[in-house]
């Protein structure tokens, strides 16, 4: 049972705490993706699991053993690095066999395992080449091969696809997903790519400044972000966040830019409170009449082919233009006149509300 447990894991560099108490349970065979902005501590957390960084506080256990004091090699993990970290003076075969040789595994078995991994990754033809003679994608495969042959309990990936071009990234993404499913090895994957975050893992952890803001299935996180940060971070283009205030009955939200948003289900307990209103660009529709909606001025229109992104600023009439941006995503090719006004509409169920002070979700 390759479970990975983190309890109150902390890391500080001098006075600076970069991981501020992470609690997790990663189940056997589960694929967990860590996502977060640059510098939030993703790599640090992963490297602590790997044993490449010391643990300042808390406990990490793998397969039921506390590994805080164990060397990386004793933790039964394999890691794929962003820059692949292939040994440049060894052939592909030697790269993959290195760890096995150190473990004193019989030669025939090494050969067999390397062959098998090479078959899975379709790199049999390159075994005698040196890493220098491979393309980025092939190097990536070798790096994965080196991880696979060790048959570890846990795979750790630190942005393994970020050095590849867009097309190859899509291909490798699918392969990694398939590979993980087939091998069933518990995996932790760090990325800052939205699509990888949403598609790869069973569960997604959103990290912000050393704190796990939310841990859940990608869909859960997309549909019910628990904090303003998660709401703004997951999704591309990101969720529109507007400041507003619930009226005295808690039945509608008053926007400072003018306009109100009526709620079908009143929020009595929060009446009069300052809130942040969130609505995803893809959940906005053009208003036909003057129902529940807001007015915006169109500033830039981007046509992506499949979609049209309309960048607007919130405001009603020439006099009340604010600088709060608002993005609308409409499917298909639509044309708009830049500088004109329009009203927008959205269904109540797509509305997210957060406490303006704590940033926590209001249900």
């Amino acid at each position: 049972m390759a479970q990975v447990l983190l309890s109150n894991v902390r890391k500080s560099y001098g006075d600076v705490e970069v991981i501020k108490g992470v609690d997790w349970q990663i189940n056997d065979g589960e694929f967990v993706v860590i996502v977060g902005p640059s510098g939030c501590g993703k790599s640090t957390l992963l490297r602590m699991i790997a044993g490449l960084e010391t643990i300042s506080g808390g406990e990490i256990s793998i397969k039921g053993t506390v590994v805080n004091k164990l060397e990386p090699s004793e933790r039964d993990i394999a890691m794929v690095f962003q820059n692949y970290a292939l040994y440049p003076h060894m052939s592909v075969y030697q790269n993959m066999a290195y760890g096995l040789k150190i473990k004193k595994i019989p030669k025939e078995e090494i050969e067999e395992r390397v062959q098998k991994a090479a078959e899975i990754l379709e790199i049999e033809d390159y075994l005698e080449r040196s890493p220098r003679q491979l393309s980025g994608g092939q190097r990536q495969r070798v790096a994965m091969g080196r991880a696979i042959v060790r048959q570890p309990a846990v795979f750790l990936f630190d942005e393994p696809l970020s050095n590849l071009d867009a097309k190859l990234r899509v291909q490798m993404r699918l392969e990694i997903k398939k590979l993980q499913e087939n091998l069933g090895i518990t995996s932790v994957y760090v990325t800052h790519d939205q699509v990888e975050a949403m598609t790869l893992g069973h569960r997604l952890a959103v990290l912000n400044e050393g704190v796990v803001e939310q841990l859940g299935t990608p869909i859960e996180i997309y549909e019910k972000p628990q904090t303003v940060f998660v709401a703004g971070f997951i999704g591309s283009p990101s969720m529109n966040l507007i400041n507003g205030k619930l009226d005295d009955e808690g039945n509608s939200i008053v926007l400072p830019e003018g306009g109100t948003v009526k709620l079908s289900k009143g929020k009595k307990q929060y009446k009069g409170q300052e809130i942040t209103l969130g609505i995803r660009p893809e959940h906005v529709t053009l208003a036909k009449g003057k129902e529940n909606g807001i007015e915006v001025k169109i500033s830039v229109v981007e046509q992506l082919g499949a979609d049209t992104l309309v960048h607007c600023t919130l405001g009603k009439g020439e006099t009340k233009i604010s600088d709060t941006g608002f993005v609308v995503r409409l499917s298909g090719i639509k044309t708009f006149e830049e500088g004109s006004f329009m009203s927008l509409n959205f269904a109540d169920k797509h509305l997210h509300m957060f406490d303006a002070k704590t940033g926590k979700r209001i249900e």
Binding site: G51, A85, Y87, H89, G99, R146
Partner: protein, 294 residues
Amino acid sequence: MLKRVHFGTSVLPYLLLAPQIIVTLVFFIWPASQALYQSLLIEDAFGLSSEFVWFENFENLVSDKTYLNSFQRTAMFSFSVAFIAMSTALVLASMADRVIKGALTYRTLLIWPYAVAPVIAGALWVFMFDPTLGIFVYALKAIGYEWNHKLNGNEAMFLVVVASAWKQVAYNFLFFIAAMQSIPKSLIEAAAIDGAGPVKRFFSIIFPLITPTTFFLLVVNVVYAFFDTFGVVHAITQGGPAKATEILVYKVFYDGFVGLDLGGSAAQSVILMAIVIVLTVIQFRYIEKKVEYT
């Protein structure tokens, strides 16, 4: 529009180059050509007359037992110096590579010996190993060893080798540490995850990846031992006892200025010159070779 600056045929570039060219001419090219010319002459002991003899000086050298002995001694000496200086530097560098706190102090201290002049370095070791005053000799006596490098040729050789190597460690250390720090950290980490301990990592990853540097340093150290150790030898043993530490550079000096055999001494220095040229060519050939990190 960019304005281009043209010096035209002004004298400025020549003026700027002149100091370097003059230094090269006066201190390298002229003495070298003098040595070449001298090596073809035989001069009488009083310097009154000289005779052009073509390669007779060289022929004499080749059949001169003391010269061939000195050649052998120099080869032994050079490789010992290179080996000791490089292996010490390698150990220190691989330790410094892992140090994080106080790394700068550590490195600065290690670089100091390089700034010490050869004769001063020699003098230091002479004091430490002086048969009557030296602190090391005193310590050795305590464990029952009589040290006297003024009588024992092997001890003298040992002392000269150690003193010469000591001075070169700093230089080697700088190159080794630079090479080690250019190895991506993730490579070492990958090896650690693969289960390689520090020693295994050193021999299977770090050492192979710094071979170009090692090779470069090997040539530099051999050149150093061949040519720049005159000061050390002169300060410690003056080539003695009984010529036990008379390496080639020292013999050039001794035969020329003490023995007054100017032609023979010049011929020796021409041979040394040829050796250094060959070594330099080898070095430039291979220094181009670099490791590519993927």
